[in-house]
Symmetry: C2
Subunit: 322 residues, 2 copies
């Protein structure tokens, strides 16, 4: 960790420490390929399948790093967070493994599948309205009442260091990558990816993929400063949250470009992956393939790592079933 103008920024040593700390609690997820999708895109795609991860998403990496890095004294009061879904259940999973309480503030509109999963892992839910402002207000109340340690879903150096373990595995699993693409919401996965790649493989480009309907990261990237929307609407419900100072630090310094995809392109890419790769993943995880298909020239002939961020989808409400 280093202090950059008051911002506590994780270093690659923190990623290494995180990897050793979380290894007993996470999967080393497989990398899958599809000859059909390679032909369709003209690229060689390597899908890092965090949909197979514990708790169904990459977020368990950062959550476990935060939870298992606490002193016993801090851990005793539990942890707390606000999240649109996967961080909530990942933190609940991590807290459960350590045997401490986990308090979660979730939008009342979050998919029932995610609420059930949080409860299933032993998390305690307090609902808020589906806006960033309401979420933060309700959370302040919960934290004041419990004294639990706040683990932010992404703007937290412990969380970013944890997410950085994903692309460390990817580099061990695939040789000669030209680029890595991951979805961007708050930017935790992208920041961890930047952190690891800029150290281990600085020649590999990092692309962030975002729904056009929630393109605050793309607009921030072009404007050179954080632009945040309150409550954008997209099928990729994991990507509605805005960048924050720590993730912006990584995005502005290391990301090659932020690409966007329309809602139709996202749903089509999701269905294509389900149909051809036979894996269940959530709409957010389809945004990278949708963005590749919408920007084929950027990826043609290149070896591209694609982070499939999670698989927690409500099977009763699939986006192509209207």
């Amino acid at each position: 960790m280093k202090d950059i103008g008051g911002l506590m920024v994780p270093t690659f040593d923190d990623v290494l420490a995180a990897h050793a700390r979380v290894a007993p609690y996470i999967h080393r997820t497989p990398v899958l390929t599809s000859s059909f999708l390679n032909e369709l895109t003209g690229a060689e795609l390597f899908f890092k399948c965090e949909n197979f991860q514990k708790a169904g998403a990459f977020k368990v990496r950062g959550a476990c790093n935060a939870v298992f890095g606490l002193t016993d004294e801090m851990a005793a009061k539990g942890v707390a967070t606000h999240s649109s879904g996967n961080h909530a259940l990942s933190l609940s999973y991590a807290a459960g493994r350590r045997g401490i309480p986990c308090h979660v503030v979730m939008p009342r509109t979050a998919p029932q599948a995610k609420k059930d999963a949080v409860l299933g892992y032993g998390g305690q839910i307090t609902e808020c309205e589906p806006s960033t402002s309401s979420r933060e207000a309700v959370f302040a109340e919960v934290q004041a009442r419990t004294g639990a340690e706040f683990v932010h879903p992404y703007n937290d150096p412990r969380v970013i260091a944890g997410q950085g373990t994903c692309s460390r595995e990817l580099l061990e699993q695939v040789d000669g990558l030209d680029a890595v693409i991951a979805p961007i919401g708050g930017g935790g996965m992208i920041s961890g990816t930047c952190l690891t790649l800029s150290t281990l493989a600085p020649g590999v480009e990092v692309f962030a993929a975002e729904p056009l309907n929630a393109d605050d990261a793309a607009r921030s990237f072009r404007a050179g400063k954080i632009i945040a929307d309150d409550a954008p609407e997209t099928v990729a419900d994991g990507l509605k949250v805005p960048l924050k100072d720590l993730t912006w630090h990584f995005v502005k310094a290391h990301v090659t470009d932020v690409l966007t995809a329309t809602e139709d392109q996202i749903v089509e890419a999701m269905k294509l992956i389900w149909k051809r790769m036979k894996i269940v993943m959530e709409p957010s995880s389809a945004v990278p393939l949708a963005s590749i298909l919408a920007n084929r020239d950027r990826f043609k002939g290149r070896r591209v790592g694609v982070i499939v961020t999670g698989g927690n989808v409500d099977l009763d409400r699939l986006p192509w079933m209207k």
Copy 2:
């Protein structure tokens, strides 16, 4: 191959020859586990994921063995078959790889996803009514017209030897199995499984799993002779076909038991696997888990290989979306 009272029965040497022949055209599919499903069943389950196989199903093993074993002269006239789906597209895939024609007779009621896939692999479809009798009549006409080599979906020693390669891989991937369970329709996969296990691991039990709505194999097993139904109705559309003499030879000699599951149990097991393992597989492939859940005492505390036979499902018509 050995002649047993006029029946040409494949031997384990045929499995070895098949494996060498098909290896360039198939995937060595992964084995996945789920701590949730282990806890739920009380067994240790090892899912052999043929849903990730080329053409989306194990049937490509047998189809490739048949196609690539033909002389150039025989191959020139192409191949032909009737199939409720996966064999059709597997044979189309195999024929396409060899560059020869593939003629397919399919029930007009087969899922559109499977028809599209056959056409996508270059197969030529002739439709029949959804009954065994109609299927066989239409097929005779097609074969007479084309002179193509008939590759039966399961009652063919080349096909059974090909399917036997699946459990050969499984034994290399998982140590100390107590049992293997696979769906049974016509019995091709079960026969190949019996052939391989009876040679390499004779102590491993083989269970066949069948929809209660199409339980001709279970009734045959108990009666000691083949009982066939015409056009049974089940969500597990790959399992409607009856046993034939060659598959019955293996079932009666090597299968420990034939277990059944109701339609509701099959759909519930399918959804459970999608939700927890994040893999897309078809209803037929859920019958083994449904049967394990309906017969927990038979599997408790045991290490069980579960063949996930295929992943070709119509995403617009999932069985839990009424």
